[in-house]
Amino acid sequence: MVLNLLFGALGVLSLLAGAVLVCLVTTTVALLVAYRRSGAVAWPRLAVLGGALLQSPMALVLRRLGRDGRLFDRFLIEAANRVGAAAFSHAGPRRLLAVPQCLRARDCRARLDPRLGYRCVRCGKCRLGELAERAEREGFYFCIAPGDGCVKRLAKELGVDAAIGVACAAELSGAMLAGLRMGVAARGVPLASDGCFETTADLDLVTEAMTQCGASPSR
């Protein structure tokens, strides 16, 4: 009798949970389709929740279908950017701009510092020298990172209030979700073309993010 009651309650709860899950999955897919068309993410918190839940099965399905998972990654980055927008605009003065080393020119002669990443010599072969100057003017610590381990170490060491990350969408989506979980005020700018060699980024988006960081007075 008690067991039947428990199974009945479990059935009702399961139906409710199933309905919520179906709604969440359907809404996430609908938001993804809308993002593909308009480039904007409506209901970003819901998108982040659904995206975080669906990320690994979605990646598996896309891989099996031989499809490119970058759209889903970009969708997650945009959603995470919107969720963290308020914290980002109210961030304190310790700020980090981390860009990947693959944005460098192929014959870059920058020296690799084990702690701080590549030290740009401003030779003008790529646009990172120009970005470094702008970042320093805006009060950002500028890091050309050889890998994400270097960024994590540096962010921890500097105790940053906010960070702007430029990386390929696949790397950035995971980092943005982890940043949201840890309460870091972050803004992600996915590379315009990836592939780990002579990649490109929309530097206007990066400078726009620098302008927005801490633009509002602290709460």
Partner: protein, 233 residues
């Protein structure tokens, strides 16, 4: 109506029990293989862990398993792929650029870092080991190189040298291609390190034979194949 809810409840309880059993079984297989033991159903366990990778990573701290999930998955896949690696004749060795010496001036290209074989880092030795078994070695600055190189080179297998997380990520992304991972002994994206003996041992698992049909380890005079040579990775 209540009886329908009861039926659903029973079905959900049965499904949850089956799901939890699958996860527990997969974890038990991964831990056993990770500690050098042998176990059946390695591919099944890999499939379950891969499907639930992100939720498991989030919950990993609460589970009574000391080894990181990525490490266990790499070890499990290594064991699952051991037989397929033994018949692969054309393979790739994918090594990370962070193994380079800090003063390395080798230029980058669309096919990775163009190593000058100066001998300042372990990559020269990895090149030599790769050449010994006829596998091409690429030094990569990121994982986005991998699908391109695999499409261009069409290897039968790949040996990955990277931190455990990247190793597992690329192994998952490469799906059906037989892969074998050798995680770094020191991580951190700069001045990292790897155990060369593990790289050698992994390459000796490959299907390479010399002109006389001898296996790589026999060529080196080490005698018959030692099945436990790579048991930890």
């Amino acid at each position: 109506m209540w009886s329908v809810a009861e039926q659903i409840g029973r079905a959900v309880a049965a499904a949850a029990l089956a799901g939890l059993t699958c996860v527990a079984l997969s974890l038990a297989i991964a831990v056993r293989v990770g500690h050098g033991g042998s176990a059946p159903l390695k591919r099944f366990a890999l499939g379950v862990l891969e499907l639930l990778y992100l939720p498991l990573r989030m919950l990993w701290g609460a589970l009574p398993v000391k080894a990181p999930l990525d490490v266990l998955m790499v070890r499990l896949r290594n064991e699952a792929n051991r037989g397929r690696l033994a018949v692969a004749r054309r393979g790739l060795v994918l090594a990370p650029a962070c193994l380079r010496h800090l003063a390395c001036a080798a230029p980058s290209s669309r096919r990775g870092i163009q190593c000058g074989r100066c001998g300042l880092c372990k990559l020269q030795a990895i090149h030599e080991e790769g050449a010994r078994v006829g596998w091409r070695v690429f030094i990569l600055t990121g994982s986005a190189y991998v699908p391109r190189l695999v499409a261009e080179e069409r290897p039968e297998a790949a040996l990955l040298v990277a931190c455990a997380h990247e190793c597992n990520k690329v192994m998952m992304a490469l799906g059906r291609l037989p892969t074998y991972g050798v995680p770094l002994t020191r991580n951190g994206c700069v001045a990292t390190d790897v155990d060369l003996d593990r790289v050698r041992a992994a390459l000796r698992l490959s299907g390479w034979t010399d002109a006389n049909g001898a296996k790589a380890e026999e060529h080196e005079g080490t005698g018959r194949r030692n099945p436990t040579v790579c048991s930890t990775w």
